[in-house]
């Protein structure tokens, strides 16, 4: 059992509420849910849609095929009806012109009869729930949560039942065994990871698709005692986070490509003052404003080279909601251990896609601050940039009696004072760069899916994990011998598994969500391995699993 319901229309028509309610009903009914959104950068009008896929087994991707279309206007229907499965159901209001395979319903008429056109979508929801034989108690429970106003709630419940009365349960679905899953998107999972790791300071400047992290952090700011701040610009954001970190709290900031670009000088500052910080870039297609509400993996090279000058850093691409949670928490430990900036790379697809996941295990999160003991230093004996074998200097925060904590963006000596001599320069550069050796030991191997002894090796990174995993399963089911490598830790670069599998496979194909194959270039640089083929998609819409399968078959034939 595996269905996809499409909900489309113009911005401002209540699509997101309907999609949210339906996704939650499905989640609470015990299904695996995977809800993607496709919206334009506008507050009203345009063609937006949500696609809710639900199944009684694990799912990791959106699909092209649709089983049910609920369209709020004619245009969106025309754009997507070709994707409807043979026995699929297309629904719209009577006002939408007739179309082959379209069932037109008196949605508006019923809503008006009930005295409020705004319950329109609840009529539609009732119809859809009935078709799939879904639980009305769950629906009422959700409506109660959304509509605090008692009359509005009652009205919506009536609408629900009126909608249901229009049809029969034609394809009743049965969930798998009852499971307690959370339904969460990548940005909220990231925020939870940061909070679990003890982040006490998060600031940012609104920029789609990163803003919902700021929103979530703000919502829990008082409860969790986190300073959350919308600041004047992204330049300020990273400088503030560094100030907060210097003073001793775990600090994070985030933006999308444009805002991340504004942070570059401060990124470099983090490098030379050796102050830990976590920065997330939730990518959207550039250059410049690009496609604000769509997805891309176009900032990989940019992020690898973030900040002018040379200094060690780590780059981690988040692969799915669970990964977002655990890796964000891990990023704080690595930042603290090596006193470096750790950059998380996400994207709009991961940020906004809502997926059912097993509840995050907070007991798996450890907090390792790696702070030095102030008591160990007699008056005037503490040196912030003390030269050590690992390159990591003992870190104190201000407040140590008798010792100053001095950080300086100029090249400095061990004490933190400006020193422009050649000797000191070499000493401090070497010290900083030695941290890269320890960092290399931290790198986790990429995820692997699929067949052993593969003939075809697929390589991707970040949020393509889910679609790739499904594509890999499908290809293997079709008789190919395929294995997929999905990179999360991008820098430092892990080569061992890539070399091993490359030696076995006849062909290596890289799949990316950009126009130039940035990861493939990195692979050539770091592993001296060239892809035989590159599958690149840069239209702002995420690769779906079936699209990867189709595209692969084409290049293999």
């Amino acid at each position: 059992m595996d269905y996809s319901i499409f909900i489309g229309g113009a911005a401002g028509q209540g699509l997101d509420t309907l999609s949210h309610i339906l996704s939650k009903i499905l989640q609470r009914s015990g299904f695996y849910v995977y809800t993607t959104s496709d919206y334009l950068s506008r507050v009203r009008g345009g063609q937006n849609f949500f696609q809710i896929r639900f199944a009684d087994h694990l799912i990791h991707s959106a699909t092209s095929r649709l089983d049910c279309i609920y369209a709020l206007n004619h245009e969106v229907l025309l754009q997507h009806i070709d994707r409807l499965q043979e026995n699929g159901l297309a629904l719209a209001d009577e006002e939408v012109p007739a179309l082959d395979r379209l069932t037109r319903l008196p949605l508006r008429a019923i809503a008006e009869e009930l005295g409020n056109v705004r319950v329109f979508n609840s009529v539609g929801l009732g119809y859809i729930l009935k078709v799939f034989g879904l639980d009305f108690d769950r629906a009422q429970e959700m409506l109660q949560q959304i509509f605090v106003d008692e009359t509005m709630f009652e009205l919506n419940v009536q609408a629900l039942h009126k909608g249901a009365a229009l049809t029969e349960s034609s394809v009743p679905v049965v969930p798998g065994k009852q499971r307690k899953h959370i339904l969460i998107n990548g940005n909220n999972a990231t925020a939870l990871g940061a909070i679990a790791a003890g982040c006490r300071y998060y600031c940012g400047y609104p920029m789609t698709p990163s803003s919902s992290i700021l929103v979530f952090m703000d919502a829990v700011s008082q409860e969790m005692e986190i300073v959350v701040d919308q600041v004047e610009d992204e330049v300020a954001a990273l400088n503030m986070a560094l100030g907060a970190s210097y003073a001793g709290v775990r600090a994070m900031t985030g933006s999308s490509g444009g805002g991340f670009a504004l942070m570059q000088e401060a990124m470099s500052l983090a490098g030379i003052i050796e102050t830990p910080v976590v920065v997330i870039n939730v990518q959207r297609p550039g250059p410049a404003t690009g496609l604000p509400t769509y997805t891309e993996q176009g900032d990989l090279r940019f992020v690898l080279h973030a900040g002018h000058g040379e200094f060690p850093k780590m780059v981690i691409a988040l692969r799915d909601g669970e990964d977002a949670f655990y890796q964000t928490a891990r990023a704080f430990n690595i930042a603290d251990k090596y006193q470096i900036p750790v950059i998380l790379l996400s994207d709009q697809y991961l940020a906004d896609t809502e997926v059912t996941l097993p509840p995050f295990d907070f007991s798996k999160i450890s907090i390792e601050r790696h702070l030095a003991d102030a008591q160990a230093y007699g008056p005037g004996t503490y040196y912030r940039y003390q030269v050590t074998e690992s390159g990591v200097s003992p870190r104190l925060i201000p407040g140590a009696r008798g010792n100053s904590v001095i950080v300086d963006s100029d090249e400095h000596d061990e004490k933190g004072r400006i020193d422009e001599s050649a000797d000191n320069r070499r000493t401090q550069v070497d010290k900083r760069m030695r941290k890269a050796q320890g960092l290399a030991q931290e790198v986790q191997p990429p995820w692997e899916f699929g067949a052993d002894a593969p003939e075809l090796l697929l390589v991707c990174w970040g949020s393509l994990a889910g679609p790739m995993r499904e594509a890999c399963d499908q290809l293997n089911a079709q008789g190919l011998v395929v294995r997929a490598l999905v990179y999360g830790d991008i820098w430092p670069f892990h080569t061992e598994r890539l070399h091993a599998l490359h030696a076995q496979a006849k062909k290596l194909v890289v799949v990316e969500q950009n126009a130039t194959g940035q990861f493939e270039g990195l692979m050539r640089q770091e592993a001296l391995i060239r892809a035989d083929e590159k599958l690149l998609k840069y239209d702002g819409r995420q690769w779906k699993s079936d699209e990867i399968v189709a595209a692969l078959k084409e290049v293999l034939s």
Binding site: G243, A247, I367
Partner: protein, 282 residues
């Protein structure tokens, strides 16, 4: 024991105002008896911004123009710290102009000491936002075309609670102003007039000396209109002193949880504390 010890050597020129300002900061901190481990000086980049190099204390020398954001981050992380942002006119009013406006609006409890020599000293004398219109520099060889910026008027209009003008040549007054700024609860701006002996041949020590005139000790520091007029006064007489001083709720205290028990930086971290947040996603 001497606290806030000064280094013997500095990279400042003889006759520069910076050493005078340094002596005033040291004296203000010592007279207030602030324990050095509880004070942080934050600077940007420039000649003024070298101040932390030459005083023994906690310091954060960040980027050109960005002393205020770093100072704000520090204060929010640990409200028990006394935080001083100290930098030049170019740094604070030019490169960091947006942060300046924002810091005033926030009213974060920090002291902001701006060394205003009306020129970019470190980079060899280009115009700063406070350089007079028409003044000739290496880059403005035809004279500065833009009108000068009025930091104190700007601060007052934007709602600053503590606005003062000092002069590096009036040590006693400067110490008094600095002490008041450090004790003020909220954002406190001190614009400190200071000669640059090498790069500003117009606004010399004598030029300032002739014009600065301390405000009457008893003037009403809650009179905004009076303060605004004094802020704008820039001619044969330039009034100095605390122009305006009125406390308002600070940004930091509005967070509620931030003050009270231990500073944020010292609070216990436990991942499990966040677990109840999962409830939102069932």
């Amino acid at each position: 024991m001497t606290v806030y010890q000064l280094t013997e050597e500095t990279a400042w020129c003889p006759g520069c105002g910076n050493p005078m300002i340094r002596r005033a900061v040291q004296q203000a901190l010592n007279e207030l008896g602030l324990p050095p481990e509880q004070v942080v000086m934050v600077a940007g980049i420039g000649q003024a911004a070298k101040m932390p190099q030459y005083i023994e204390m906690n310091s954060f020398t960040g980027l050109h123009g960005r002393s205020l954001p770093a100072a704000i981050g520090i204060k929010l992380a640990n409200t028990e710290l006394t935080v001083i942002a100290q930098s030049g006119d170019g740094d604070n009013y030019g490169e960091g102009g947006n942060h300046f406006i924002s810091a005033i609006r926030r009213n974060i409890d920090i002291a902001h000491f701006v060394h205003d020599n009306q020129v970019y000293g470190l980079t060899k004398g280009q115009a700063s936002p406070t350089t007079a219109q028409g003044q000739i520099t290496s880059v403005q060889s035809g004279g500065v075309k833009a009108m000068p910026f009025h930091p104190l008027a700007m601060a007052l209009v934007t709602g600053a609670g503590f606005v003062a003008r000092g002069f590096s040549g009036d040590h006693e007054q400067l110490v008094t102003i600095m002490k008041a700024a450090l004790q003020f609860k909220g954002y406190a701006l001190v614009d400190i007039l200071q000669p640059c002996v090498v790069w500003n041949k117009i606004n010399t020590f004598q030029w300032y000396k002739k014009r600065v005139q301390p405000l009457d000790d008893n003037h009403d520091t809650s009179n905004w209109d009076f303060a605004f007029a004094a802020a704008r006064q820039w001619g044969e007489v330039i009034p100095t002193g605390i122009l305006y001083q009125v406390e308002k709720p600070t940004y930091d205290e509005q967070y509620g949880f931030i003050t009270g028990s231990a500073p944020l930086a010292a609070r216990e971290l436990a991942p499990q504390q966040a677990e109840p947040l999962l409830q939102r996603f069932y």
